[in-house]
Symmetry: C2
Subunit: 108 residues, 2 copies
Protein backbone atom coordinates (compact mmCIF):
# COMPACT_ATOMS: atom_id res chain seq x y z
CA UNK A 1 0.00 0.00 0.00
CA UNK A 2 1.25 3.47 -0.86
CA UNK A 3 1.04 4.91 2.68
CA UNK A 4 3.23 2.03 3.95
CA UNK A 5 5.98 3.07 1.54
CA UNK A 6 5.47 6.75 2.25
CA UNK A 7 5.81 6.50 6.04
CA UNK A 8 8.62 3.97 5.72
CA UNK A 9 10.55 6.40 3.49
CA UNK A 10 10.00 9.11 6.13
CA UNK A 11 11.36 6.90 8.95
CA UNK A 12 15.03 7.70 8.29
CA UNK A 13 16.91 10.83 9.41
CA UNK A 14 18.95 11.11 6.19
CA UNK A 15 15.90 10.78 3.98
CA UNK A 16 13.98 13.38 6.00
CA UNK A 17 16.95 15.76 5.70
CA UNK A 18 17.03 15.25 1.90
CA UNK A 19 13.29 15.96 1.73
CA UNK A 20 13.68 19.08 3.87
CA UNK A 21 16.42 20.24 1.46
CA UNK A 22 14.27 19.55 -1.63
CA UNK A 23 11.38 21.52 -0.10
CA UNK A 24 13.61 24.56 -0.64
CA UNK A 25 14.11 23.73 -4.33
CA UNK A 26 15.49 21.07 -6.75
CA UNK A 27 19.11 19.89 -6.44
CA UNK A 28 21.60 17.65 -8.25
CA UNK A 29 22.80 14.43 -6.58
CA UNK A 30 26.29 15.85 -5.96
CA UNK A 31 24.81 18.95 -4.29
CA UNK A 32 22.57 16.80 -2.07
CA UNK A 33 25.33 14.33 -1.21
CA UNK A 34 27.79 16.98 0.02
CA UNK A 35 25.66 17.62 3.14
CA UNK A 36 26.04 13.99 4.27
CA UNK A 37 29.07 12.12 5.52
CA UNK A 38 28.13 8.91 3.69
CA UNK A 39 29.45 6.73 0.85
CA UNK A 40 27.75 7.67 -2.43
CA UNK A 41 26.21 4.19 -3.04
CA UNK A 42 24.48 4.31 0.37
CA UNK A 43 23.32 7.83 -0.32
CA UNK A 44 21.88 7.03 -3.76
CA UNK A 45 20.10 4.05 -2.18
CA UNK A 46 18.29 6.55 0.10
CA UNK A 47 17.38 8.62 -2.97
CA UNK A 48 16.00 5.48 -4.62
CA UNK A 49 13.78 4.73 -1.59
CA UNK A 50 12.49 8.30 -1.67
CA UNK A 51 11.77 8.08 -5.40
CA UNK A 52 10.06 4.65 -5.10
CA UNK A 53 7.80 6.05 -2.37
CA UNK A 54 6.66 8.85 -4.67
CA UNK A 55 8.05 11.61 -2.41
CA UNK A 56 10.60 12.83 -4.97
CA UNK A 57 11.10 12.75 -8.74
CA UNK A 58 14.34 12.89 -10.72
CA UNK A 59 15.43 13.64 -14.25
CA UNK A 60 18.75 13.21 -15.96
CA UNK A 61 20.36 15.86 -18.18
CA UNK A 62 23.63 14.57 -19.64
CA UNK A 63 25.54 13.19 -16.65
CA UNK A 64 23.65 15.17 -14.03
CA UNK A 65 20.62 13.73 -12.25
CA UNK A 66 18.46 16.36 -10.55
CA UNK A 67 15.91 15.64 -7.83
CA UNK A 68 12.82 17.59 -6.92
CA UNK A 69 10.02 17.21 -4.42
CA UNK A 70 6.78 15.54 -5.50
CA UNK A 71 4.61 17.56 -3.09
CA UNK A 72 1.45 15.47 -3.54
CA UNK A 73 2.90 12.49 -1.63
CA UNK A 74 3.98 14.68 1.30
CA UNK A 75 0.47 16.11 1.29
CA UNK A 76 -1.08 12.62 1.43
CA UNK A 77 0.91 11.62 4.50
CA UNK A 78 -0.06 14.91 6.17
CA UNK A 79 -3.70 14.39 5.20
CA UNK A 80 -3.82 10.95 6.81
CA UNK A 81 -2.43 12.36 10.06
CA UNK A 82 -4.72 15.38 10.12
CA UNK A 83 -7.78 13.16 9.50
CA UNK A 84 -6.92 11.10 12.58
CA UNK A 85 -6.38 14.24 14.61
CA UNK A 86 -9.74 15.61 13.58
CA UNK A 87 -11.44 12.37 14.74
CA UNK A 88 -9.57 12.68 18.00
CA UNK A 89 -10.53 16.33 18.44
CA UNK A 90 -14.19 15.80 17.65
CA UNK A 91 -14.26 13.02 20.24
CA UNK A 92 -12.80 15.45 22.76
CA UNK A 93 -15.36 18.11 21.86
CA UNK A 94 -18.13 15.58 22.40
CA UNK A 95 -16.72 14.69 25.82
CA UNK A 96 -16.46 18.39 26.61
CA UNK A 97 -20.09 19.03 25.63
CA UNK A 98 -21.16 16.05 27.68
CA UNK A 99 -19.29 17.30 30.76
CA UNK A 100 -20.70 20.81 30.33
CA UNK A 101 -24.22 19.39 30.13
CA UNK A 102 -23.60 17.33 33.28
CA UNK A 103 -22.39 20.52 34.99
CA UNK A 104 -25.41 22.54 33.83
CA UNK A 105 -27.80 19.87 35.09
CA UNK A 106 -26.03 19.85 38.42
CA UNK A 107 -26.16 23.67 38.68
CA UNK A 108 -29.92 23.85 37.94
CA UNK B 1 15.73 9.38 16.89
CA UNK B 2 12.10 9.67 17.91
CA UNK B 3 10.76 10.67 14.46
CA UNK B 4 12.40 7.53 12.98
CA UNK B 5 10.38 5.35 15.34
CA UNK B 6 7.23 7.42 14.84
CA UNK B 7 7.18 7.20 11.05
CA UNK B 8 8.30 3.58 11.13
CA UNK B 9 5.34 2.74 13.41
CA UNK B 10 3.04 4.51 10.94
CA UNK B 11 4.37 2.51 7.97
CA UNK B 12 2.11 -0.50 8.54
CA UNK B 13 -1.56 -0.83 7.53
CA UNK B 14 -2.58 -2.73 10.68
CA UNK B 15 -0.90 -0.22 12.98
CA UNK B 16 -2.50 2.72 11.16
CA UNK B 17 -5.91 1.03 11.48
CA UNK B 18 -5.37 0.56 15.24
CA UNK B 19 -4.41 4.23 15.58
CA UNK B 20 -7.46 5.31 13.58
CA UNK B 21 -9.59 3.21 15.95
CA UNK B 22 -7.96 4.69 19.06
CA UNK B 23 -8.56 8.22 17.74
CA UNK B 24 -12.24 7.47 18.35
CA UNK B 25 -11.58 6.46 22.00
CA UNK B 26 -9.70 3.97 24.23
CA UNK B 27 -10.18 0.23 23.72
CA UNK B 28 -9.18 -3.07 25.33
CA UNK B 29 -6.82 -5.43 23.47
CA UNK B 30 -9.62 -7.96 22.81
CA UNK B 31 -11.83 -5.22 21.34
CA UNK B 32 -9.00 -3.99 19.10
CA UNK B 33 -7.99 -7.49 18.02
CA UNK B 34 -11.47 -8.53 16.86
CA UNK B 35 -11.23 -6.18 13.83
CA UNK B 36 -8.16 -8.00 12.52
CA UNK B 37 -7.79 -11.47 11.09
CA UNK B 38 -4.45 -12.07 12.78
CA UNK B 39 -2.95 -14.34 15.45
CA UNK B 40 -2.96 -12.57 18.85
CA UNK B 41 0.86 -12.70 19.32
CA UNK B 42 1.39 -10.91 15.97
CA UNK B 43 -1.28 -8.39 16.87
CA UNK B 44 0.15 -7.62 20.31
CA UNK B 45 3.56 -7.18 18.65
CA UNK B 46 2.01 -4.37 16.56
CA UNK B 47 0.63 -2.84 19.77
CA UNK B 48 4.10 -3.02 21.29
CA UNK B 49 5.62 -1.17 18.31
CA UNK B 50 2.95 1.53 18.62
CA UNK B 51 3.59 1.91 22.34
CA UNK B 52 7.40 2.00 21.92
CA UNK B 53 7.02 4.77 19.33
CA UNK B 54 5.04 6.88 21.80
CA UNK B 55 1.89 6.92 19.66
CA UNK B 56 -0.21 4.99 22.19
CA UNK B 57 -0.25 4.30 25.94
CA UNK B 58 -1.70 1.34 27.79
CA UNK B 59 -2.74 0.46 31.32
CA UNK B 60 -3.72 -2.80 32.90
CA UNK B 61 -6.73 -3.24 35.19
CA UNK B 62 -6.93 -6.79 36.47
CA UNK B 63 -6.60 -8.96 33.35
CA UNK B 64 -7.66 -6.27 30.90
CA UNK B 65 -5.11 -4.07 29.16
CA UNK B 66 -6.62 -0.91 27.66
CA UNK B 67 -4.94 1.22 25.00
CA UNK B 68 -5.41 4.89 24.30
CA UNK B 69 -3.95 7.39 21.86
CA UNK B 70 -1.01 9.57 22.97
CA UNK B 71 -2.00 12.51 20.74
CA UNK B 72 1.25 14.47 21.17
CA UNK B 73 3.27 11.98 19.08
CA UNK B 74 0.74 12.08 16.23
CA UNK B 75 0.94 15.86 16.41
CA UNK B 76 4.75 15.79 16.17
CA UNK B 77 4.70 13.72 12.97
CA UNK B 78 2.10 16.08 11.51
CA UNK B 79 4.15 19.10 12.57
CA UNK B 80 7.26 17.83 10.79
CA UNK B 81 5.29 17.34 7.57
CA UNK B 82 3.52 20.69 7.75
CA UNK B 83 6.85 22.48 8.35
CA UNK B 84 8.25 20.99 5.15
CA UNK B 85 5.12 21.96 3.25
CA UNK B 86 5.36 25.51 4.48
CA UNK B 87 8.98 25.73 3.19
CA UNK B 88 7.78 24.34 -0.13
CA UNK B 89 4.89 26.79 -0.34
CA UNK B 90 6.97 29.83 0.55
CA UNK B 91 9.41 28.83 -2.19
CA UNK B 92 6.50 28.68 -4.63
CA UNK B 93 5.24 32.09 -3.51
CA UNK B 94 8.72 33.53 -4.09
CA UNK B 95 8.80 32.05 -7.60
CA UNK B 96 5.34 33.46 -8.22
CA UNK B 97 6.37 36.95 -7.10
CA UNK B 98 9.46 36.74 -9.26
CA UNK B 99 7.43 35.74 -12.33
CA UNK B 100 4.90 38.52 -11.68
CA UNK B 101 7.72 41.05 -11.44
CA UNK B 102 9.20 39.75 -14.72
CA UNK B 103 5.77 40.14 -16.30
CA UNK B 104 5.32 43.71 -14.95
CA UNK B 105 8.74 44.73 -16.27
CA UNK B 106 7.87 43.28 -19.65
CA UNK B 107 4.51 45.08 -19.73
CA UNK B 108 6.02 48.53 -18.88
Amino acid sequence: MQLDQLFSALSDTTRRAVLARLCKGPAAVSELAQDFDMALPSFTQHLRVLEDSGLVMSEKNGRVRTYQLAPQALKEAELWLSRQRSDWESRFNQLDEYLNKMKENRDV
